[in-house]
């Protein structure tokens, strides 16, 4: 009986990269363990996209930190429509728009939005921790309740801010999951938001997760960017962006 496949002799190089190197071969093909490892990672990424955001649980997590919340939805009615029609994910549904327009808070300094985007898991797991670090750094800011948004794209934040009359919006949104990063959160900051804003008017922090940019560090950098945008009255290319390359969900 032949030997079962072993990792390649250079398997130790995996300490230098998260790439799937030195896997070994069964014949010329993948060993079973490598096949299963890949399948597990893909399943986690697929679930990140398709398992819906547990809004009551997120609201409870924020309430436990003393934060009031409002829930809204985009015009995309389900995941399938959300994936096919990014334009619908950028617009509030009518009921949500009316709900926000009827709120007493007007002309807030910033509305903070927690959005499912392409990974509900990212916002559920890292959103509350990020806010917990961020909010103490925003002393003196007038902030409406935190908005929780379903079936949301980045630009839904513009619609939310316009309906609430907020002067700035920060979207904390689940990013497109990779096999090694099913829980990556993005933060998109827009000063003077309005429907039709372009991506050039935003600043972005991406890859927010414990194994990437840790939520506490992200909160520190975000607070700095928010303050700078408020002072400048603008965001995007006009504001020095010390984040990585922008990735728009």
């Amino acid at each position: 009986m032949s030997q079962p496949p072993r990792p390649d002799p250079w398997h130790g190089l995996r300490q230098l990269t998260a790439a799937r190197i030195g896997l070994g071969r069964a014949g010329d093909s993948l060993p079973t363990q490598a096949l299963l490892d890949f399948g597990l990672a893909h399943a986690a990424a697929r679930d990140a996209v398709h398992v819906p955001l547990d809004v009551p649980a997120l609201m409870a997590a924020l309430a436990a930190r003393g934060l009031a919340t409002i829930e809204v939805g985009s015009q995309a009615r389900d995941r399938s429509e959300y994936l096919r029609r990014p334009d619908l994910g950028r617009q509030l549904d009518e009921a949500s728009r009316e709900q926000l327009a009827a709120r007493p808070e007007r002309a807030g300094d910033c509305v903070l939005v927690l959005a499912d985007g392409l990974s509900a898991r990212a916002v559920a797991e890292h959103g509350p921790a990020l806010l917990e670090t961020l909010l103490p750094r925003l002393a003196g800011w007038s902030l409406p309740p935190v908005v929780i948004a379903r079936q949301a794209r980045v630009a839904l934040g513009d619609d939310i801010a316009e309906a609430l009359g907020a002067r700035q919006v920060v979207m904390l949104i689940g990013e497109r999951p990779g096999l090694s990063s099913p829980d990556s959160l993005g933060a998109y900051l827009t000063q003077a938001p309005r429907r039709g804003c372009t991506d050039a008017e935003r600043n972005c922090l991406s890859n927010i997760r414990p194994a990437g940019l840790p939520p506490v560090e992200a909160a520190r950098r975000l607070a700095h960017l928010m303050g700078a945008a408020r002072a400048l009255g603008a965001s995007g290319v006009q504001l020095k962006d010390d984040s990585g390359p922008a990735r728009i969900a």
């Binding site: 998260a18 190197i21 896997l23 014949g27 993948l30």
Partner: protein, 462 residues
Amino acid sequence: MGYQHVAGGHRYHFADLRAVMACASPARSGDALAGVAATSEAERMAARCALAEVPLKRFLDEALVPYEADAVTRLIIDRHDPAAFAEIAHLTVGDFREWLLRRETDDAALARVAPGITPEMAAAVSKLMRNQDLILVASRRHVVTRFRNTLGLPGRMAVRLQPNHPTDDPRGVAAAILDGLLYGCGDAVIGINPAGDSLAAITDLLVLTDTLRSRFDIPTQTCVLTHVTHTLRAIEAGAPVDLVFQSIGGTEATNRSFGIDIALLAEARDAARSLGRGSVGDNLMYFETGQGGALSANAHHGVDQQTLEARAYGLARHFSPLLVNTVVGFIGPEYLYDGRQIVRAGLEDHFCGKLLGLPMGCDICYTNHAEADQNDMDTLLTLLASAGVNFIMGVPGADDIMLNYQSTSFHDAAYVRQLLGLGRAPEFEAWLRAMGVTDDAGRLLPARERHPMLGLATELSA
């Protein structure tokens, strides 16, 4: 002038050739998003029936994107070769499909008529063709290109070694390159998508890959896939640039959104050629494309995404590239929704590119929000390898940890070589044999504890 077709007692009208083309296109989410797709299967077939009757000559008279408004249209029309076209000038789109499928239409015949085929003609006939037609015709066409090795010869398939790393860490990149080489991959190019785009970061990666290539005397080329303006700056700064990479699209406005135009591409090609780094040829442009790019840039002119993709090839062939890569499933499900749409698009792109005379490769890939998985990639890989694709990607374990999507792996390349008996670029194959990576038949040897290149691994780990 309108177009129409009667089917099932219903008369279908199409306002112009653009509408016939869009409605005739196999279903995909991007055309629905753009609002140009057929609204029923019956309408789609009626459009195909109408399209089959359209004379090829008509495409020279009715531009889908206006000549006055678009530099890509002008390039296509101004460079059209009437002498090459003469052989097929009397055909309709439907006749053209049959002409392509004749046994007499061999590599030489396809090469002869290529300068007479516009991208729109290629797209049109592809819309009438089944997957097997796209595979069969493309398999007859061998587009050979050269820089430091010879790519595209019959019975061979090359691999781009894609050693991406989320922070461009040189040791992480080198480890992935070593892994790929020891799996017999890298003849198309060792090509890195950089995470950073500063001149310093790009130069570092260019020097790293060129140093590795020189040290082991590897007959291949290296590339850092950055914007053409960055590559020009790197050339001016004296960095070792083999290939000029750029993403391109099928309309002038798409290319403007990418920050390029035809003159800039020509300037970069000339600058890289002046370095004289190719040893067996001077094909040195590396283009990437993908259906949906024009809509994504809001620059689609109401034209369907597959036709616009073919127009990008019309631009590419002007520059005699070494490699053209359709990154078929990267853009996401709003353009190609699932495995079925991705497979179809990959076969269309490969066919249209080959028909126009391009060295077509394919990044057989998907994102995690598309309804696709590695089984769909296996299907497309097997079909494209059967169709004679020039090259595919080789990503460690198919998992790109920088771009967060899945492509094909070194193992996938080994699978399809074994299945279909495909070799590598001959110069690279000889090098692998000399290095003890493969046997005389090109098969991977068992991994050795004391391989000469593993000395590098020891240095990296130190």
